[in-house]
């Protein structure tokens, strides 16, 4: 068993995570949350700081592929684990298909909830390529949006799902 000491003058501890595909070693005080370390120590401010009590969903990241609230995970608990944030969604050719669909349909207005929605939606589509509207409503129920009324968000995820399905079909036709 190892021990990581804290206290008002606590020494920082070191942890190594994989963040958006890259290995990152970072030092922080033992009681800091994943959200705090991502934003304050790694400068990854795409993950938003909302209620900080697990009620709004805007701080969602993928931890080993599963959506979790980074405000309710200790940085220490992420040793050796894979973390994906909104910064990891875009590729060399620009925004991801989900991000493009959000922009096209106005699924982001003030934008504060958008990173959390995008990451949950990535997780949903990875498991269920063509979710029903009812499934989407349930799967996105842990994320609050006070601007859009949610409909455009559901439509954007459905558009991305449809394009992925068409893309897969086209690849199939070309034998790829």
């Amino acid at each position: 068993m190892s021990e990581q000491a804290a206290g008002p003058t606590a020494r920082r501890v070191q942890a190594t995570w994989r963040v958006n595909g890259e290995s990152v070693t970072v030092a922080f005080r033992p009681h800091r949350t994943l959200l705090e370390v991502l934003r304050e120590d790694l400068g990854l401010t795409g993950t938003k700081h909302g209620c900080e009590l697990g009620e709004c969903g805007t701080c969602t990241v993928l931890l080993d592929g599963e959506p979790v609230l980074s405000c309710l995970v200790l940085g220490l608990e992420c040793e050796g684990r894979e973390i994906r944030t909104v910064e990891g969604l875009a590729g060399p050719e620009g925004p991801s298909d989900l991000q493009r669909a959000f922009a096209e349909l106005g699924a982001a207005q003030c934008g504060y909830c958008t990173p959390g929605f995008l990451l949950v939606a990535e997780h949903v589509l990875a498991r269920e390529p063509r979710p029903t509207r009812a499934q989407l409503v349930e799967e996105l129920s842990g994320n609050l949006c006070r601007c859009t009324g949610y409909l455009k968000i559901y439509e954007a995820v459905e558009r991305a799902a449809q394009r992925r399905a068409e893309g897969a079909a086209a690849e199939g036709r070309h034998g790829g």
């Binding site: 990581q4 000491a5 804290a6 900080e52 697990g54 979790v68 995970v73």
Partner: protein, 330 residues
Amino acid sequence: MKAFRFLRPRTLAEASEALRREPGAVPKAGGVDLLDRWKERVEEPEVVVGLCDVTDGAALRLEEDGALVLGALATLADLAGSDLVRRFLPALARAADQAASPQIRHRATLGGNLAQATRCGYWRLRSFPCLLRGASRCPVREPGGVQETAGIFANDPCASAHPSSVAPVLGALGAEILVGGGPEGGRGLAFEALWRAPEPGRSDVLALEPGELIRAVRIPPSAHPVRVGHAEVRQRAAFDWPLVTAAVGLTLDADRIREARVWLGSVAPTPHRARAAEAALTGRRLAEVRATFDGRAAAEGATPLPGTAYKAGLVAVAARRALADALERS
């Protein structure tokens, strides 16, 4: 949040040893509620025993004798998604799948769900007095107290309510709790023996010995067919706390109810067994209870406060729906 020392055991045995060695240390599994409480400074542990590296606590398995053993470190998402749980304990899979939000279900564990604290707004805000935190009286019970989500059974002197919606289903399944790591080693507890009644000045809800942890929940095999149903009443369909949860477990002899278990959540400081409702169901034929059971027996013994009078009616509704669920689905 106040800083703490963080210990990281590799096994449940090491975790128990750490808890025994460090009086006042708090075990943390998913910790989704603990972190809220620490941030709000309702509780400020000096030492946290993190269970994130423990590898022997999350398995869901079917024993040779037909018992199902559910590791306490399994998450609610694990339960909801497990083929084994969906096949043999569908009501449990549904209850786990309806709790909280998808993100929280990926962190919140079975053991933590059973061990969770009340949602009472007075207990959760340090600036309010609270009997469990050392005040002389429970402010919920005072005139003008906010009572809507308070308990209606065993609510004197503390009107808190245990919010688990998984616990009533486990009670209806006849579950036992396997705890371990205390001075006596491992032991099995009857389901209701996991919790203790509120005492002034004590916020912990579990009747565990120092160093003990919830290791697993065991659902014993049944020689007779069992049907289990579950119903929850809440204000929002998703991401909300239940106002009332009810679960009904029926052990059958052909079309007659040999044994009934009726458990309620969010109505008392601990999960509440509705014995009068069990008596109203036991020995009866299914067709008869389908036609006549109105659920009111489940509210027998309730002592609602003025603001919770409505909950006795909700208990009857939830018990009726849980029975209907048991008769229709399983």
